[in-house]
Symmetry: C2
Subunit: 559 residues, 2 copies
């Protein structure tokens, strides 16, 4: 496919998945890492891998001689020698050594992002103990104290809660042997991540926004689509892409972010390589982050970053202890879960906290996804931490009504959706009294993941039709019966729409049927709801048949 050879600094699981993607394209990869049986070296027959440290200048030069393009799968490499090699102009290196160097130092990284107007939480340099006092004065407790370098998976972070902890904190962070800085503590609503893809020619794409759940600062669970408002999702993508535009070089970049309760987003950290939060792309996206990394650095056309499944999750398999079998219990469980794919990294030694593998689960809907991953998470977590509380599902159906006086009429619709386990929202949107709110609601609904809108209105019932005029989604209209005209006024107002703008009208006051119709629309594409609809119809038939039997039994007089 491409005659060039890629040299990779680092041979862990990210390198392994990179090699897997390269093999499919018949692209040669040479790995530099110390263990002769490093994960990435295990899945290629080539004997040309280099066994040595990815910080060793001589070994890096050796790697450069065998390859046309160098890249990294870990950022803690020797960036200086990469800079030298780049200046010698003998080899292409992606991402740029200056980017790698910048990212190695979290303080420089934050300074750089801040300078480029990328939102980050407040931070301050802490070169000495005196500066720590200044930081505490400025940001108060709790204070996040961080090592500037060599920090990953939570190592090098200390959440300082009070003065008593200062000496402990400094000691655990090496008493300034590694330089420190401090960040204002932020209580975020969610952690998000976006994988951004940049081709050597400058073209940029990004993968969908994912939600990540960390446990003791290690990524534990990733799921997609993030269950957030679509407008916030767009904002997160934009911030991530803008952050990557400030850096040099090609490749995929993981951008970790905090979403605050007020909708603010802060960039937390950037990884200049394939990232744990993008593992799911192998099974869930049209092109994986690994193949796109290869395409980026070889300056080939970028692959599509779109999801090819409605929902996906990734669960890390971290060593529970030295016992591999105990660690792999979630994998054994997942063999019986539809949509689950196991990835093990071939690491020989199992150690507590070590990343031994991951499981990706794909699904037809986010609610089905959560029920699929539940049994795996129960084993992973050993009930120590109930992850399901963080899983708020975005609505698929929006129920709106012109006034709270319509609530009694619209409630049966909500009850039907609830009984079918359809995630929905219910609110008041009045065409006449809140036209601006109606406008916003209608033009944003599909961006937020809503698949169908149910609108109830009475009298001069304009809400369903006006919403239908603004949204590309199907709108179901429920004519609400008023005190006069028997609801015929509402029915005509809703059903007799002009050519071009349809409203799916149901019977007067019959919001039950609106709910059922919404479920049928979902069921045409989500098998889970089609099956439930079939069962519902069977039950409905059996309920009537039971009455037939009863009538037969007791006779019409005593019925």
């Amino acid at each position: 496919m491409d005659p060039r050879t890629i040299g990779v600094l680092g041979g862990g699981q990210l390198g392994r998945m990179l090699v897997e993607a390269a093999s499919r394209l018949n692209i040669k990869v040479v790995i530099l890492d110390t263990p002769p049986n490093a994960p990435a070296k295990q899945i290629q027959a080539t004997q040309s891998h280099i066994h040595g440290d990815f910080k060793d200048p001589y070994k890096i030069r050796e790697l450069a001689k065998t390859a046309n393009v160098l890249t990294i799968e870990i950022e803690h490499v020797n960036a200086e020698i990469l800079k030298t090699l780049m200046n010698e102009n003998t080899i292409v290196i992606h991402p740029s050594p200056s980017t790698i160097k910048l990212i190695q130092n979290k303080f420089s990284q934050k300074t750089h992002l801040s300078k480029h107007k990328i939102p980050v939480v407040d931070f301050i340099d802490v070169p000495t103990k005196d500066d720590l006092s200044i930081a505490i004065e400025k940001f108060g407790y709790p204070l996040m104290l961080k090592s500037k370098t060599l920090a990953y998976d939570g190592r090098g972070n200390y959440l300082l809660r009070s003065e008593d902890e200062i000496s402990n904190a400094l000691e655990s962070l090496g008493n300034f042997s590694i330089p420190l800085y401090a960040e204002r503590w932020t209580s975020f609503a969610k952690e998000l991540a976006v994988m951004v893809v940049r081709r050597a020619n400058g073209e940029v794409k990004s993968y969908p926004v994912v939600e990540t759940v960390q446990k003791e600062n290690i990524c534990h669970l990733v799921f997609v689509p993030a269950q957030i408002n679509g407008v916030i999702s767009e904002k997160a993508k934009t911030i991530a892409e803008e952050a990557i535009q400030t850096l040099e070089g090609a490749g995929v970049f993981g951008v970790e972010m905090f979403l605050m309760n007020d909708g603010h987003i802060y960039v937390n950290e950037i990884a200049p390589r394939p990232h744990n939060s993008g593992h799911y792309t192998i099974e869930a996206c049209e092109t994986s982050q690994y193949e796109n990394h290869i395409r980026c650095i070889l300056d080939l056309p970028l692959g599509s970053t779109a999801l090819k499944v409605p929902a996906a999750a990734m669960i890390n398999i971290l060593g529970k202890s030295n016992d591999l079998q105990e660690t792999l219990r979630p994998c054994a469980e997942s063999l019986s879960i539809p949509g689950a794919t196991i990835h093990l990294y071939g690491k020989q030694d199992c150690r507590k906290g070590r990343k031994m593998g991951h499981i990706t689960v794909v699904s037809d809907s986010i609610s089905q996804l959560f029920s699929r991953i539940k049994p795996i998470l129960e084993i992973v977590n050993e009930n120590e931490h109930d992850i399901s509380t963080t899983m708020k599902i975005q609505p698929l159906v929006g129920i709106i009504m012109g006034s709270d006086s319509d609530l009694p009429t619209m409630k049966p619709c909500a009850e039907i959706l609830k009984s079918f386990d359809v995630p929905f929202e219910l609110s008041i949107v009045s065409a006449h009294r809140t036209p601006n709110r109606m406008f916003d609601y209608a033009i944003n609904a599909h961006k937020r993941g809503i698949k169908v809108i149910v609108a109830g209105a009475g009298g001069a019932a304009h809400l369903p039709g006006m919403v239908a005029a603004l949204t590309p989604l199907p709108v179901i209209g429920v004519p609400v019966k008023g005190k006069i005209l028997d609801g015929v006024d509402s029915l005509y107002s809703i059903v007799q729409m002009p050519r071009g703008i349809p409203v799916a009208t149901v019977a007067i006051n019959n919001s039950t049927n609106a709910g059922i119709l919404a479920v049928r629309q979902l069921g045409a594409f989500i098998p889970e709801y089609l099956e439930k609809m079939q069962k519902f119809m069977e039950k409905q038939e059996n309920d009537v048949l039971a009455k037939v039997d009863k009538l037969e039994e007791v006779g019409w007089e005593s019925y």
Copy 2:
């Protein structure tokens, strides 16, 4: 994950994809094949592969010593030694050597299937030239003359069209040096294939029915879901599963079938291993055929065989000549096609007709799939053969009406769907005059892939509601205006449905809106239609704004 080692006879592309799946599970695989750089040997660092012929008894014994379970990736192996090994009871072998032996001989295979009442086309043994005359007398011309053994990818087949060709045919098939048999020539409507999965414990599952397109007897294109009636699809699955139940041993099996114009299905051939028609499962199904083959032979829980994408296709990359770059032109093209994934097999020598790789394309809908694969097929085919003629798309929308007199009212609905490129069907289904047809239509629509039904009716307009009472799909009702009562009779009949059975009613005689509503329902799940709907609404707005301008320009008097 599992400490057992799998020994594989054969190291081609099927073995390679098997190794890829095994690596993810950290399961060890040892390959037996002659070339030291066979495709399957390239993607494992282990040096324990065996370089030798998969027919060589000594090499097979050597393989058996290194492994816990033996399997095959090609059926032309030495089945006798496998039988001996199995009788010695020292190793597990899947599929059973007796199955491999049976399948090696196409005549025995057909005899076996026929004995077990699996439908196959008529066939007859042709041990001598005299028997050929009997066969010709029985089946007439054209006659399919076939080698019983060592035949694959079209080699060993001769379509005998007249007496003149007899000596040519016999010569090209080796003049009875390989035994021959004959089949009645069948002019099939489509070729179908089903991958059936059988676990060592006997549990059976199958993948969706695919359509295959052969060119010169070599598989060229596979797509899924097969664009056939869902009832026929179920029948094909059942026949495939029943055929596999007659064979011994575990693994995945490819069942190739012919679909005749009258709906009859004949089994053509069975492959007792992963199959070309199942390559697409890597990207398109919840678990790939390769991982499921491993699970089957290790007696692990079977993975889900469900599609995880709405549609997928697989295009084989066959050597065009000795020139690899020329052969790989479709791959270069597919780098720019969303949803396309390239698999190259690492074969060093490119030769005309050799399977060098394949491209899988996934998509949101079958129509989008066909437009995605078109540019790839144009390069593959060099316009010698227009494949698109075989691609008939199954309808997503069903338009029905009570009488042909409703056609003028329902036509605009068809025109809208046509303008949005929505595949649809239009027919007459009367609730009152053809109740049986209505019943069949309604209960089968969702099985055939229909996502929404549009029903038009006038007067005592029962059709939409009665159909809604039988299908779990959403039904859109169009009240058709009669000569009296202005259509209000139809409107009430359609909209005032009882609780439990909704009909999405649009304005009287406004089938345009029914079409638009159907597109909106599809668009909630198929992004292509959502985008088109947004453009449609923009155009609609601009058309009116143009009238605003015109009115402004010419004034109301001369407008």
